[in-house]
């Protein structure tokens, strides 16, 4: 029997919610690293015991990477964390996400940061090195920050090809490496450019979140600033998949997109009105679900509130691996919701939190 862990990063600390596999009763621990802005709170479950990682960006004290080997009770701030060299084109403002490497890549972790760049650790997080091919990309001078800054917020690893990975940068676009992160190519054909002036530079594409089909890594999905898109060719080109999704004046605006753990045709998004409003249409929180790889979407609101003028940020949605899978999301208003039946019905999780910036769900064997 496993235990379900939901790691929640907020603007003022992290929280850990636990339940048994029934997912009806939850306990809450925290704040972990209280007062710190936690962009991402995640678990590396590859080793004998889980390692918790916090990607920190604090308005006053800046960025850091923190590690806990006792599920958040105590923390170790990494001394040799991500740092730009003097010749870097940007300044390190915040760590946005920490992603463990593939199962066979023991000790490898990746960190996406703002201003946009990617770092890798090959020694379990003690030391981090910049992958300069990304931050020094030829289009770098045309990258402009989104509302959340110029951030590398999403790191996607190809589960079959150890040399291939993708990152998403707001508001620059999707980049793919086919050589383990040394060199990168922009992969934004078919996406709507955010700033007309940058069309020729192939930058200015505001990708919000991206996932890969683990059974067919040529297939990617993304929630983009102006809509939801799919690629069937590893990001070489993108097509809209919005049948059934609500559209505001900027298309189907939203941030998170997550994939079912076993059925890659099933995905979930949380549409918002637009970049101007950044809350649910009519204040009715709604999750939209597709079971046919984005050909059709339909809404799920059972258990979700009306009168909730909130949104969900890009990293604030996750799934667990159980059957039926659990789906979780947190809101900009500090509420957490969970579904125990693959998004069909929802329940509010206990607690009122600061602005929720990340949600990651896991099942650990007892």
């Amino acid at each position: 029997m496993g235990e379900v862990y939901v790691c929640v990063g907020t603007q003022k600390g992290g929280f850990l919610l636990r339940s048994d596999e029934g997912r009806k009763e939850w306990s809450v621990e925290g704040p972990l690293l209280g007062g710190w802005g936690i962009r991402d709170l995640s678990l590396d479950t590859r080793g004998a015991r889980p390692v918790m990682w916090a990607a920190v960006g604090h308005e006053v004290y800046g960025p850091s990477v923190q590690r806990s080997t006792d599920l958040g009770k105590t923390w170790d701030q990494i001394e040799h964390g991500p740092k730009y060299g003097a010749d870097a084109p940007g300044k390190l403002e915040s760590v946005w996400t920490i992603v463990p490497g593939r199962a066979e890549e023991a000790g490898v972790l990746y960190a996406g940061v703002a201003e946009a760049g990617l770092f890798v650790s090959r020694d379990g997080g003690d030391h981090w090195n910049e992958l300069k091919g990304l931050s020094g990309h030829p289009t770098r001078s045309a990258w402009t920050p989104g509302f959340g800054g110029l951030c590398c917020h999403t790191i996607v690893l190809d589960p079959e090809n150890s040399k291939r990975m993708w990152v998403a940068i707001s508001a620059a676009g999707v980049f793919r490496s086919d050589d383990g992160g040394e060199t990168w190519s922009d992969r934004n054909e078919g996406l709507q450019n955010l700033l007309e002036a940058q069309v020729e530079e192939d930058a200015g594409f505001c990708v919000h979140r991206m996932v890969v089909d683990p059974k067919n890594p040529d297939r990617l999905f993304q929630q983009f600033h102006f809509g939801v898109y799919k690629s069937e060719n590893a990001g070489d080109s993108w097509e809209r998949i919005e049948n059934g999704l609500p559209r505001g004046n900027e298309g189907c605006f939203g941030f998170p997109i997550v994939m079912h753990p076993r059925d890659p045709n099933t995905l979930f998004v949380i549409p918002q009105i637009s970049g101007e409003y950044r809350y649910a249409h009519d204040g009715d929180l709604a999750v939209f679900k597709t079971t046919d790889a984005g050909a059709n979407w339909s809404t799920r609101t059972d258990g979700l509130p009306g009168g909730a003028f909130q949104g969900a940020l890009r990293q604030a949605m996750s799934v667990d691996p159980l059957n039926p899978c659990g789906v979780y999301f947190g809101t900009t208003g500090g509420l957490l919701y969970a579904s125990r039946d693959e998004g069909e019905t929802w329940m509010e999780l206990p607690g009122r939190y600061p602005r929720v910036q990340s949600v990651n769900a896991y099942v650990l064997e007892g």
Partner: protein, 92 residues
């Protein structure tokens, strides 16, 4: 050489092993701040940008004086002096 006590905001206690106060040995305020950064690299990264400039919203007080406003930090110190690191954001 005199010892100067340095008081830290609670969020930064973890940078120095969980202590609210630390002591550094220095002859001047300038030396004390440099010693602070040299001895405690995690504290250095929280107080200073990577180019060595003090973070915009961090203040270091020498007794009652904001060091940002002092023209010269080569001020001799005594064991009775103190440095206080504070977060400068105020108000709502």
């Amino acid at each position: 050489m005199p010892h100067i006590r340095v008081e830290l905001p609670s969020l930064l206690h973890q940078c120095v092993g969980g202590e609210p106060f630390i002591t550094v040995e220095a002859d001047t305020v300038s030396q004390a701040i440099n010693e602070l950064a040299k001895t405690y690299p995690l504290l250095r990264d929280s107080i200073f940008e990577s180019d060595g400039t003090q973070r915009r919203h961090v203040l270091i007080f020498y007794n009652e004086e904001n060091t940002r406003w002092l023209e010269d930090l080569d001020i001799p110190i005594t064991d009775k002096d103190r440095l206080t690191v504070v977060q400068s954001i105020a108000g709502g």
